[in-house]
Structures are given as C-alpha cells and as structure tokens.
C-alpha cells in the first residue's frame, strides 16, 4: 500500500523549481521520480551566438550561487582549446575567488539546512557570518555576486596590495565563526539523530550514478578536480581533500564544514605567494578545434566542452553542472527514508536547480496523490526534530 506525495515544483528548502514524486508506503519512501527542466533557458544554444568574451559573462549567469564556477570551467576550456596559460598572478587571484565562493556557497547551504531541521539559530548565525565573504567579494570585484572576474588569459581586476591586510583580518574572523559552526553542528546529539544513517549513498551507488564533489567524497570516493586535474594555482599550494566513508546526510554536512577550513588555508597561501605581475594576456583569437575545461565548483565538477571553427563564436558549447549528476542519485538515496527526512536527503546534495533545473507523494495502494506544500514539509521536518529532542531529553 503506498501513496504518492509530490514535492514541488518548488523545493521547500531552496525555493527553486524541481519536482519530486515520492512513492510512499506509510511513512517510508519506496520510489522517487524526478522531473527537471522547469528552468531550462537554452544557454547552450544561446552561447552559439555569443563571442568568446561574452560567453564567459553568459555562463556566469547559469548559477546565482556559485556564479564563478562556470566561468572557471569556461576559461579552462577555452585555454585548453588555444593552449593558453594565464599569468601566475591571475591564477592566484582566480583561486582566491573560487575558494571564497566555496565558503559562501557552503555557508548558504548550511544555513538553509539548519532552518529545515528547525535550528533557526544556526540559520541566522551562519548567514550573518556569510556576510564576511560577501564583503570581501564586494571589495575585490564591486559585486557581492556575479563578480565578472574571469576572462580568457587572465582576470579583469587585480587585488590591490593595500586590501590584503583587511582580507586577512576578515578571514581570521571567519575562522572563529567556522569553529563555532563546527561545534554547533557536528557535536549536536539531535543533529546526529536527524542525519546519521539517513539518505545513505553507498560507494557502489555513487560510482554507478557518476556523482561528483561533496556528494561523492562523503561516500568514500576521493575525487576533486583541483587535485586530479589541477588548474589555476591549486597545484602550487598545500591543501587536503576531505573524504568521508559513511555516505549519509551527516557525512555530507561534515564534508562541507571541513572543506571550508581547507578553503581558508588555500586563500591564505595564495595571498602569501602572490607576486606582482601582469594579470591578463589580452587574448584576441582562439584557433579552430576542441577544448575541455573542468573546475571544482562547491557542488562538484563543472564540465565545459567547446568547439571552435576559428571564428569569434563557438560552434558548440556544452555545459555539465555537478547537480546534473548528483540530483539523479536521489533516486536511490531517498528510498527507505521517512517523508519527513526525504526533503532533507534531497537537499543534502546541495542541488542547484538553476544549473540543472520539483516532490509528489504517491500512495502505492490507493494511487492517490497529495501535494506537500513547502511550509508543510518544513513543519514535518521540524516536528521530527522536536520528537527526537524529547526522546533525547534535549531542550
């Protein structure tokens, strides 16, 4: 006997368009059907009518959260096509921007996840400290989001030496906040009860669904483009990738929190190692041929493929966002979970719907559909936390 519960077309947590049809038996999910495409904007087609320089701006608009990861893969692809190597200083600046973005993106997700399980204090505090990153971005690029820093053969803006002490001071403040979040989230018994053993994606499943980034690494797969196919300055810096074995929601949370420490380490080293120099090669033309660019976005590997006939426009531009691979894995990660946990599992891959692109619950016996509104799901999830708190005697 099962029932169908629809979640969407707006995900209650991220408020982005995606549709999940949950087939449930009682309180347990037995099957998930995912629909995407609500946000398909035809960017690949549009790219074919833009000049190489404009393409970088265009792909920056694919995602509103990790706006710089697509430009990163894009310049990597074009530089692969043209055999171009950007100047050293530009590579350090690019690395700093990418890592700042990882921290801000992970913090955004952590805050939302906190709200979803009923920890509104976590939500407010995390987002408060996320402002530090947004301020750094504003200082460097003039924008809190969509920084327009990258171009083929370099970056558009330098980081002036006089700004560096202030950036370092801001990072020190952030490190204190990270310690606070690490303690508040990773040592909390209620969060343990809510997330440990929930939504497990096994190593075998992770390989089969070809997942990437902080969806693969918590399942014991040590992949990270920054290490495997080093680009920018990642090869010149000492840092570690975070790999965990459990594959559950908790491991995914822990992976992101620990990664932020690595990001701070990377940024500090870049600031140390950066030497004065040119930041742009002023590339005017790209040869005919093919290019592949990869970059490790906060959600995993971004993959861009370009084909050029030597003109000023790409003949074909293929974009593969990490969520494209990760969201599909929910088909297995959600099965066996409670409805109150399902939306949390779905959100644990930090799905980016802009990049990829909705939940219905179906009763298998009656075949009846009932749509769960976002607020209802959040209420269900928060009720579950309250229940666990009572069981554990935590106030």
């Amino acid at each position: 006997m099962s029932e169908i519960i629809p979640i969407g077309p707006y995900h209650p947590l991220q408020e982005e368009p995606e549709f999940f049809r949950l087939h449930v038996e009682g309180e347990r999910v037995v099957k998930v059907d995912i629909e995407i495409g609500y946000n398909h904007r035809g960017i690949e087609k549009l790219a074919e009518s833009k000049s190489w320089d404009q393409v970088v701006f265009l792909v920056e608009r694919i995602c509103g959260i990790c706006s710089t990861s697509h430009p990163a893969a894009s310049v990597n692809a074009m530089e692969d096509l043209g055999g171009i190597e950007a100047p050293e200083r530009a590579q350090y600046i690019r690395t700093i921007i990418c890592e700042l973005e990882r921290i801000h993106s992970h913090l955004l997700w952590l805050g939302l996840a906190g709200h979803f399980i009923g920890y509104n204090t976590v939500w407010m505090w995390v987002w408060k400290y996320r402002e530090i990153i947004c301020d750094i971005f504003e200082k460097i690029s003039g924008n809190r989001q969509s920084y327009a820093m990258f171009k083929v053969g370099g970056v558009r803006r330098d980081i002036p030496d006089e700004d560096i002490p202030w950036i370092r001071k801001s990072l020190d403040k952030l490190k204190l906040a990270l310690d606070l979040f690490k303690g508040a989230v990773m040592d909390d018994p209620v969060i343990h009860a809510r997330t440990k053993g929930v939504g497990v994606l096994t190593k075998e499943q992770a390989k089969n669904y070809c997942v990437v980034g902080p969806t693969a690494r918590p399942s014991g797969i040590a992949i990270d483009v920054r290490k495997d196919d080093p680009y920018f300055a990642y090869d010149w810096i000492d840092w570690d990738i975070v790999v965990l074995e459990e594959g559950d929601v908790f491991a995914k949370v822990a992976c992101r929190i620990l990664e932020m420490y690595e990001s701070v380490k990377i940024i500090e080293q870049c600031l140390d190692k950066m030497k004065p120099g040119i930041i742009d090669l002023n590339v005017k033309e790209l040869p005919p041929g093919e290019g592949i660019g990869r970059a490790e976005a906060p959600r995993g590997e971004v993959y861009h493929y370009v084909r050029s006939d030597g003109s000023n426009f790409p003949v074909r531009y293929k974009v593969r966002a990490p969520s494209y691979m990760n969201i599909f894995s929910n088909e297995v990660a959600c099965v066996g979970e409670r409805v109150a946990d399902a939306a949390l599992v779905l959100a644990a891959v930090d799905p980016c719907y802009c990049c990829t692109d909705r939940l219905i619950v179906i009763d298998q016996g009656t075949k009846k559909e009932r749509v769960l509104e976002g607020n209802e799901l959040i209420r269900l999830s928060q009720q579950r936390t309250e229940k666990i708190k009572k069981e554990l005697g935590v106030k």
Partner: protein, 148 residues
C-alpha cells in the same frame, strides 16, 4: 584509490581495441579524443566503465554538416588528469545508436537530453521521456540542430 597509471590504461585500451580505433587524437597530455564505430560503443564503454573503472563524466552531441550527429562520451579515471572522449558519428536519417545507460546508470539523463535536443534515438534506453523540454514540445523540432 589509483590502481592504474595513464600509461597502463593506454596500453590496455590499445591491446584490446587497437583494430577498432578509427583515430586516436591527443590534443595534449590531458585530453584524448578517440573515434570509434557506433557498433563498438557498447563494448568500449563496458570495457572503460567495468574493467578500467572509469567514471562517466557526460556526453555531448554536435550536429554536423556531414550528414549526421557526432556524439562524444567523456570519461575520466578518477584521480588522473586525463579526460578520455569517445567519438561516434551517428548517420542521418536513422540517427540511432545503442544506449550506454544499460551499463552506466548515470548516462540515463544525458541520453534523454540528447534525444530531445538533437533527435538521436537511443536503442534499449529504459525511459526516453522529455527531460528538459516541456511535454507539449512539438515533435520533430530539435533545438540544437543546425537548421533551428
């Protein structure tokens, strides 16, 4: 986790498929493009995914003026920098190729996408519904074709 170096992988591919490789093109030491016949796609993909433990990254289709659609299947080998792209040329008007999602689950979505955007039919695919385009999208209109 690295079990093989690129040299070993390269050797294994050559030993097994040397007579079936139409063209081996190395753009640089990290990017390898290999042209094969569509009939060899399943064997090749199975060999890469199951024997060499490759990871399927994505597939990309390009409509060409040469009377067909070119599909590239991109693979990587986890901790190695190499991207290995298998190229098959699918001729018009049949535009049909075997689906690799029977071997690699993660290829299901992209094959659905290539089907609706370029009109390539994937044989034995478990579910060829629309993925990114709406259900009422007119039949026979493929947005990524050259004539669109």
């Amino acid at each position: 986790m690295v079990v093989m170096t690129w040299k070993e992988i390269e050797k294994k591919i050559h030993t097994r498929f040397d007579d079936r490789i139409l063209k081996w093109f190395q753009h640089n030491d990290r990017r390898i493009y290999v042209d094969i016949n569509p009939d060899d796609l399943i064997d090749f993909s199975r060999f890469l995914f199951e024997d060499l433990k490759a990871r399927f990254v994505i597939a990309s289709g390009v409509d060409t003026p040469r009377g067909g659609v070119e599909i590239l299947y991109h693979f990587d080998f986890y901790q190695l920098p190499q991207v290995f792209s298998l190229r098959v040329f699918v001729k018009k008007p049949e535009l049909e190729v075997e689906s690799i999602s029977t071997i690699i689950k993660g290829a299901e979505w992209i094959e659905r996408e290539i089907k609706e955007l370029l009109g390539v039919n994937f044989k034995n695919h478990p579910d060829l519904r629309h993925l990114v385009l709406p259900e009422n999208w007119p039949e026979g209109k493929y947005p990524l074709r050259r004539d669109m």
